[in-house]
């Protein structure tokens, strides 16, 4: 049935030659798992486009509705949390895929003549992808979105001479607000997609005109070739399935809850950028005062200029890694710095202050015994019995607490606190927790 329909269309549109061109492209040295990263990136881009379109069905890009609509998607729409999860984790995955794709091209020397233009377009595609990440981050309009975008925009403001203008241009005025979310939304869902589709087509067009680079090993490259279809297509499909499986599993199992609604007056909130910006975030901590502005705009600019110029600076035609020690050394050095900064940043972020396990059990007991139906602790709970926020200041004596928990009336006559049946460990845990409740 399907093949008869295809024949009917082919008869009229002459699809066969097109099909041959698309599928029978020769791959020097044969199909390889090394070549799957570009397809994986393209697949993830498609996934982002698809889930993004579906998110737009419920999303409203306005400061007074954006948060509600994202929360609605997250909590009330059937499957909404999953679609949003796919888009969120897909964004991370696409960055990983681009990174691996670039590394493969870099280490294989596939950016060299005659493929310089393919590399240049690829670098521009990376910049556009980062633009997607930056503009998309603001859209949920929660605290993280608002404050991380503030920081991002202020970094643009460090560009000399035109910085102030660029900031106003990005915000759509003096403040980050209604006009900012509108233009970020338009850029995210209309302008960037239009540009990137053209860029991807150009990238693929150049690939087809120049042909794939094949292995860096001359002997293997000359050993023969095979067509793109079916083995390379099969490998690409397997990788797409794996990638899709990972993204779905993350979307399914790791919740990505909204922070509180954006509150421009709350200056206590500490925003954290997406992980793919974290190494840069960490780097900025080391840039001392006057060098700060240089780190915020000069380094990224130099990075992109360096990437764009790479195939023109590195004109050594040799592709084998062992014959390119300087370029590969520089690349490896860059990776070590990036991952070093990333790991320091992650360690700082997730460093949980260590707590006495007994105190942790004590806190759990307070929840379990519903102490806060009467007592208030740091603003939580009723105000029927004494506030315990700083109880250790008033009652620093350990034995008093132990005795009091065993038999409240014995040390506090007339108290209406009930006797709770507690074992010795529980008595200890609760007392240890009480003794941590002090000011200063």
């Amino acid at each position: 049935m399907a093949s008869r329909l295809y024949q009917w269309i082919d008869h009229r549109l002459k699809l066969k030659p097109l099909e041959q061109t698309l599928l029978n492209e020769p791959i020097p040295g044969g199909a390889s798992w090394n070549y799957v990263f570009g397809s994986a990136t393209l697949f993830l881009f498609g996934l982002q486009a698809l889930t993004g379109m579906f998110l737009m069905i419920y999303y409203v890009p306005a400061t007074d509705h954006a948060y509600d609509t994202v929360q609605y998607i997250q909590q009330e729409v059937w499957g909404g949390w999953f679609v949003r999860g796919l888009h969120h984790w897909g964004a991370s995955a696409v960055m990983v895929a681009i990174g691996l794709h670039m590394l493969q091209v870099f280490f294989d020397g596939a950016y060299k003549r005659p493929r310089e233009l393919m590399w240049v377009v690829g670098v521009l595609l990376l910049a556009i992808m980062l633009g997607f990440g930056f503009t998309g981050y603001l859209l949920p309009w929660d605290q993280n979105a608002y404050w991380a975008t503030q920081v991002g925009i202020n970094m643009v403001g460090s560009v000399p001479f035109i910085g102030d203008f660029l900031v106003k241009l990005l915000r759509g005025g003096e403040t980050l607000g209604a006009l900012t979310i509108s233009r970020f939304f338009a850029i995210h869902v209309a302008f960037l997609p239009a540009i990137i589709v053209f860029g991807i087509m150009l990238h693929l067009f150049i690939l087809r005109r120049v042909g794939p680079a094949g292995p860096h090993d001359e002997a293997r490259a000359k050993s023969g070739s095979e067509t793109f279809y079916p083995r390379q297509v099969f490998m690409d499909a397997v990788v797409m399935l794996v990638v899709f499986g990972i993204v779905s599993l993350l979307a399914y199992s790791v919740e990505f809850p909204l922070a509180d609604r954006a509150d421009p007056s709350d200056h206590t909130f500490i925003p954290v950028p997406e992980w793919y910006f974290l190494f840069f975030y960490q780097l900025l901590k080391y840039a001392p005062g006057q060098l700060g502005p240089l780190a915020t705009w000069l380094l990224p600019t130099l990075f992109f200029i360096g990437l764009l110029l790479l195939p023109f600076v590195d004109r050594n035609p040799e592709r084998h890694p062992s014959s390119r020690p300087i370029v590969l050394g520089t690349g490896l050095g860059f990776l070590v710095v990036v991952f070093g900064l990333l790991s320091i940043s992650l360690r700082d972020l997730y460093a949980v202050p260590k707590r006495d396990p007994s105190v942790v059990r004590g806190i759990a007991l307070v929840q379990q015994l519903n102490c806060q139906t009467c007592h208030r602790i740091h603003g939580e709970g009723a105000n029927l019995a004494p506030d315990l926020s700083f109880v250790a200041n008033r009652r620093p004596d350990r034995n008093w607490h132990l005795q009091h928990f065993k038999d409240p009336q014995s040390v506090s006559p007339g108290s209406f606190m009930p006797k709770f049946p507690l074992n010795d460990q529980q008595l200890n845990d609760l007392t240890n927790y009480m003794l941590t409740l002090k000011s200063g």
Binding site: N24, P26, G30, L47, L50, T51, F54, I57, Y58, V60, H65, D68, T69, Q71, Y72, E76, V77, W78, G79, G80, F82, V83, K222, G224, S225, E226, T227, P230, R231, V233, F234, A237, V238, M240, L241, F244, S248
Partner: protein, 173 residues
């Protein structure tokens, strides 16, 4: 050296082709199910109906229709809004109260109570109903629609519903 020299052929080739088709279908279906559900879910959602108090029944005169304000919090997707509808309540001599939807069952206009003729009259197409809601004249296909109501502790509780207009039978929207 010819292009495509080591291209797989025969059963090996068909294994790659079949697996590729299988994987594509798997990804396609795994995406289609949540995405389609995500889009069509609101089409299956029922309006939530709450019992809303319209006040004490003591205050209603017997056999005199009164337009009472029915204020409901309506969830319209992610928006919550309060809307007020005027429903017609008629207290019977036995103390029971009939509550009529304010919408004419003919084509959905709002009808009025004519105190002189003691009839409900729809200004749009001239349907006329008596105090019981029975059609007395005009094109209306069915009597006035009654709304679910009950009296608890002297208070009149009503659920707001809407019905398809133009049908002989009362069909909820």
């Amino acid at each position: 050296m010819e292009d495509g020299l080591s291209t797989p052929v025969g059963t090996r080739r068909s294994f790659f082709v079949k697996t590729t088709v299988f994987i594509s279908s798997l990804i396609g279906i795994s995406l289609a199910v949540p995405l389609i559900g995500y889009v069509i879910a609101p089409a299956f959602q029922r309006r939530n109906k709450d019992w809303v108090s319209l006040g004490k029944t003591d205050l209603l005169p017997v056999n005199e229709p009164r337009s009472l304000d029915y204020t409901m919090t309506e969830k319209d997707g992610w928006q919550e809004s309060q809307t007020t509808k005027g429903v017609w309540a008629v207290k019977r001599p036995d103390g029971q109260v009939t509550v009529f939807s304010p919408i004419c069952p003919h084509l959905g206009c709002g009808y009025r109570w004519d105190q002189q003729d003691r009839l409900f009259k729809c200004p749009c197409h001239g349907s006329i109903y008596d105090l019981e809601g029975t059609v007395k004249a005009g094109p209306a296909p069915r009597p006035l629609d009654t709304l679910p109501s009950k009296i608890e502790n002297g208070e009149l509780l009503v659920q707001y519903e809407e019905f398809k207009s133009g049908l002989a039978k009362k069909v909820e929207l």
